[in-house]
Amino acid sequence: MNISPDEAAKALQEIETSREAMRRAIRTHRGHVYLWIWGGAWVAMSLVNWAYDQGALRANFWISGAGLVATLLIGYVQGRQIRSKVDRRFIGVCATLLMFGYFVWPLLLGDLRSYDFHSYKAAYAYFTVLWMQLYMVAGIWFANFWFWIGLAVTALTVATLLLLPALFWAVTLLLGLVLLGSGFYVRYGWR
């Protein structure tokens, strides 16, 4: 099969146009919606925690629950357009981490409420770091930006808890805003 350089150039241009159209479509399926949801949830939780400290525990459950429902709903809608085959090993790793984080370690090391967590802030940091492990695993598994988000949030959360506990809620609020901002970057700035 032989074609002229003009035809080759035209074909390459068509390829680029088609790639760009698909890139735009895929961009709407990236994780920015989840960053918005959880960034928003995080901001809300930080604000109620800042205002009510341990009294905000119940509100945290409701906010997390709303985030979870929104996540599942959006995952369902997106899965109808572009879907990846479910990687059962990845799901297994996440489930194991959560099971150990919520049940095994607290049961082995003591009830979370009685264990010397020395403050409600430390317990909040524990669960934040637990969920950030999932971000890091997802980032390693799929080779994407989630790893760096998980690592940065973990480092900042632990550092603030240990070094600047008075600023803890302010920093979690900031981290929530960073998650929201990351969502905007992924949606509009990332090529």
Binding site: M1, N2, I3, S4, P5, A8, A9, A11, L12, E14, I15, E16, S18, R19, A21, M22, R23, A25, I26, G79, R80, Q81, I82, R83, S84, K85, D87, F142
Partner: protein, 97 residues
């Protein structure tokens, strides 16, 4: 030396393959979603997908989502390889000798 692939070179199939190769290795795209993105008709897209499937460049999987039949399209490793070879062949035509 890469050669032009006449199956891929057809304009609509070139569009389809370049779009599908943008997807991740394990991702599949819904037929209607692909059709809307590429601006093709049902019949046109279906015919070209059948040609690409016969060649082993893509796979078509039918399943029910919310009780409705859906067709998902994914590119195969052989399809990716053939497309990369085709692009390299096009680029080599433009390179001065």
């Amino acid at each position: 030396m890469n050669e032009l692939d006449p199956i891929i070179h057809q304009p609509a199939r070139l569009q389809i393959m370049s779009a599908l190769c943008q997807l991740g290795a394990r991702a599949r795209v819904d037929f209607s979603y692909l059709k809307d993105n590429l601006g093709l008709t049902d019949g046109n897209l279906g015919a070209h997908l059948a040609t690409l499937e016969a060649r082993g460049y893509i796979t078509l999987e039918k399943e029910f989502v919310a009780r409705r039949p859906k067709t998902f399209v994914a590119v195969t490793p052989a399809g990716r390889l053939a497309f990369a070879g085709h692009v390299a062949a096009l680029q080599s035509i433009l390179q001065p000798r």
